[in-house]
């Protein structure tokens, strides 16, 4: 057995790939000794995200069945391309755009989620296995984190948050419009209205619990005492922020569900149950 002389012998060149199998570390062949089902969360995350990506890609490129009066799919809102009648509440400035109108606006919510601090954790683990779980060795030889292109672009998250606030306002407006019937008369409500309402609440909870939001409203300050209102706002956002991951999941499901519901309505698979 060696003694504490190991301290002196630790300085030596190591291969760049050396991780838990490196020459100075305890010689243990297993990449992890965890006995719990550590693979379950990244696997479930991968499957759900992958399913969402497939569905969202199909719907974004599909270009049809996104409006069933008075409901507009959140994937196509605001509808700025060559949209069907009634779907364009903000005009059609990109009418000449040859592809699906969803592709014009979807980059903003997509970019917001792609650069989100929670989603980053989730997909770095589930898709890139970096690491797959805590204290489970990752398969990559080299690692530079978010210091280089393209991952250094994750720092634009706050700009996508600004856009997400605008998208949130537009989706809220869509919910207001959903309190009409097919003849544009106000004071009506159907199951679609309820689903859109739940969705927009979850979207707002997700958007307002964002880490960049927390920073912008007050987190960037060094003296809360000089900014009592911003301190209160920061405290509120901080409470929401602890549940950011939950809101990320709930709103992901709700936005897909609302789109699916409107898709099925528009495709005449069933009629919208009207409450009043």
């Amino acid at each position: 057995m060696a003694s504490t002389d190991a301290r002196q012998s630790k300085v030596q060149s190591v291969p760049s790939s050396a991780g838990v199998g490196g020459p100075t570390r305890a010689r243990i062949n297993a990449k992890t000794l965890r006995t719990d089902r550590w693979w379950l969360t990244p696997l479930a995350t991968f499957l759900v995200f992958f399913a969402f990506i497939v569905y969202a890609t199909f719907r974004a490129f599909y270009g049809h069945d996104y409006y069933s009066a008075p409901y507009l799919s959140p994937f196509y809102s605001p509808c700025l391309g060559d949209c069907v009648g009634g779907a364009s509440d903000f005009g059609r400035p990109f009418q000449a755009f040859p592809l699906s109108a969803a592709l014009i606006v979807l980059i903003f919510p997509l970019g917001f989620r792609l650069t989100c601090y929670y989603y980053r954790k989730a997909y770095y683990r589930a898709f890139w296995l970096s690491p797959p779980a805590c204290a489970v060795a990752e398969p990559h030889q080299k690692y530079s984190g978010e210091t280089r292109f393209p991952l250094i672009l994750q720092n634009v998250h706050r700009y996508f948050w600004y856009a997400a606030v605008v998208v949130g306002v537009v989706l809220t407006y869509d919910v207001v419009l959903a309190f009409r019937n097919e003849q544009d008369e106000w004071g009506h409500m159907g199951l679609g209205t309820l689903l859109m309402l739940v969705n927009v609440v979850l979207i707002w909870l997700y958007t307002l619990s964002c880490h960049s939001c927390r920073h912008a409203v007050g987190g960037r300050l060094r003296h809360f005492s000089k900014h009592p209102v911003r301190y209160k706002m920061w405290t509120f956002v901080s409470k929401l922020n602890t549940r950011h991951a939950q809101f990320a999941w709930y709103s992901l499901f709700s936005v897909a569900l609302v789109d699916l519901y409107i898709y099925l309505l528009a495709a005449n698979v069933f009629d919208d149950p009207r409450f009043f």
């Binding site: 057995m1 060696a2 504490t4 190991a6 301290r7 012998s9 630790k10 190591v14 760049s16 790939s17 050396a18 991780g19 838990v20 490196g22 020459p23 100075t24 570390r25 305890a26 010689r27 243990i28 992890t32 000794l33 965890r34 006995t35 719990d36 601090y117 980053r120 954790k121 770095y124 683990r125 970096s130 690491p131 805590c134 204290a135 489970v136 060795a137 990752e138 990559h140 690692y143 530079s144 984190g145 978010e146 210091t147 991952l151 720092n155 634009v156 706050r158 880490h211 960049s212 927390r214 920073h215 987190g219 960037r220 300050l221 060094r222 003296h223 809360f224 005492s225 900014h227 922020n241």
Partner: protein, 258 residues
């Protein structure tokens, strides 16, 4: 009510080692460190363990139990089935010295690289003043016991030895954040945090938070706020423009970059 616990404990040094099998009698209410001490007392007198307070406050007995980075003294045997074999290894990110003892001097080297707190001149009455709510924010970070479990579990250095020179690790991002949020500190460490300390290497996969025995929200309350502060300084053209035309808040005035 005692029972016989099966343990596998890593024995060895940098020249090699293996998991040794031990069966030891344990009692209700004991922790893993108690079981190891009994192994040491009855079967393996030369078993090396670093420990001190047995109360989760000194941060000495960090190790990996069934592959999870944990404190030996804070891991209850009642968390496991009586029939379960408990495997204990040293932290796998740091050079092993012997058995469960590792050389954690990497962390002390990183601590030396971090510029210290620099207060402003005293007020005319010889005092310095801070408001209570400004002080409270950093209190969570002061709970750190420097067990280095977060440093150990961070894949940036755990899986990539070559990153050690360029990466300070979560424990020190905590310190960067604490000082950056400090109402009196006059150093601006944002460039340093991103550059020399390697904040950009962190991909916020939150393992540091998961293993922290003090429950400090390292990622949400320190690393991400610090990343946002760095983005203010380095990556946000609107903040830059605001500072040029004088519409930024004056909260960072009086700080000098280090």
């Amino acid at each position: 009510m005692g029972y016989d616990l099966k343990m596998r404990v890593w024995r060895g040094d940098q020249s090699g080692g293996e998991l040794g099998d031990y069966t030891v009698e344990v009692s209700e209410g004991e922790v893993v460190l108690d079981a190891l001490h009994r192994v040491q007392a009855t079967q393996a007198g030369d078993l090396a363990i670093r420990w001190n307070c047995k109360a989760g406050k000194c941060g000495s007995c960090s190790a990996e139990i069934n592959g999870k980075p944990r404190l030996l003294c804070m891991t209850r045997l009642s968390d496991f089935e009586e029939s379960e074999t408990i495997t204990v290894t040293p932290m796998r990110t740091f050079p092993v010295i012997r058995d469960l003892v590792t050389d954690v001097s990497y962390n002390y080297e990183k601590a030396k690289e971090l510029p210290y707190f620099e207060p402003p001149p005293r007020d005319s009455d010889g005092k310095r003043r801070m408001a209570q709510i400004d002080v409270e924010r950093g209190q969570e970070f002061r709970k750190c016991i420097e067990c280095f479990l977060c440093q150990n579990t961070c894949h940036v250095v755990r899986d990539h030895e070559d990153n050690k020179p360029a990466f300070a690790g979560p424990r020190f991002f905590l310190r960067y954040a604490e000082l950056d949020m400090h109402p009196l500190d006059t150093h601006d460490r944002r460039e340093l945090a991103q550059g020399a300390a390697g904040l950009g290497m962190c991909n916020i996969t939150k393992c540091c938070t998961e293993v922290c025995p003090e429950g400090i929200k390292i990622t949400d309350n320190a690393i991400i706020p610090m990343k946002e502060r760095v983005a203010d300084k380095k990556f946000d053209p609107l903040v830059w423009l605001g500072s040029k035309i004088g519409i930024r808040n004056k909260d960072n005035d009086g700080r000098t970059e280090v």
